[in-house]
Symmetry: C2
Subunit: 127 residues, 2 copies
């Protein structure tokens, strides 16, 4: 792994929540100037393939990513207050695959994105 990729990996860890490639590039411009946008995209692509970074949605037309090394079937809760992304067990208990819904349609796969408040933001809201 090159120095640049290590720096990008650190920046991903440092990012508390979801981020876009450009946001990461901007934050790197401060801590490690000189890393090109293309390099950021390449590194993020590799990390997505490796499974350490996941796509969690879209924002203003750009892809929203987040660090997530979790294995197995799970979904993500995006905190609408701080942007943090939290891995959550499937609220359907994995029972959906193969289930029949409506007039005989059968489900093979599903995608769920949850939005809400993380425990920290919820505690602050209650103050």
């Amino acid at each position: 792994m090159s120095d640049q990729r290590a720096t990008i990996a650190e920046a991903v860890v440092a990012a508390a929540g979801a981020f876009t490639a450009e946001e990461l590039h901007r934050s790197l411009a401060v801590s490690a100037p000189g890393i090109g946008l293309a390099t950021v995209y390449r590194a993020l692509g590799a990390m997505q393939e490796a499974g350490s970074v996941t796509q969690v949605g879209q924002r203003d037309g750009s892809t929203l990513l987040a660090r997530c090394g979790r294995d197995g079937h799970h979904h993500h809760l995006v905190c609408t207050s701080c942007g943090r992304v939290i891995a959550i067990d499937c609220p359907l208990g994995g029972s959906l695959a193969g289930r029949e819904v409506g007039d005989g349609h059968v489900i093979t796969r599903h995608e769920i994105t949850l939005y809400g408040l993380c425990a920290d933001c919820r505690a602050h809201e209650e103050d």
Copy 2:
């Protein structure tokens, strides 16, 4: 409503399943040539605002739309065989809002996209 918008609305109805703006524009180029891509985007935007067309995902970086006039809380099943989009009751029974998950996080909103086979394609598969 202008002639063009009526034509576009017809094309949306004629489209069996999910489609992109460009696919719709291509199909219009055959049935009603001369309608500009910008007009298609404008009409689809108006239909989205009116609630007769809904965004159901992404394909190759472009937005996937489908006709859906259904009111109330529901989700969409995208048939992976024919591309048809079917409105489905929320498999969570609307019970998720306000529910607490994980370590005290609270959910306010969720998005679910289901993938599978519609009843027709399932019947054909079994042949």
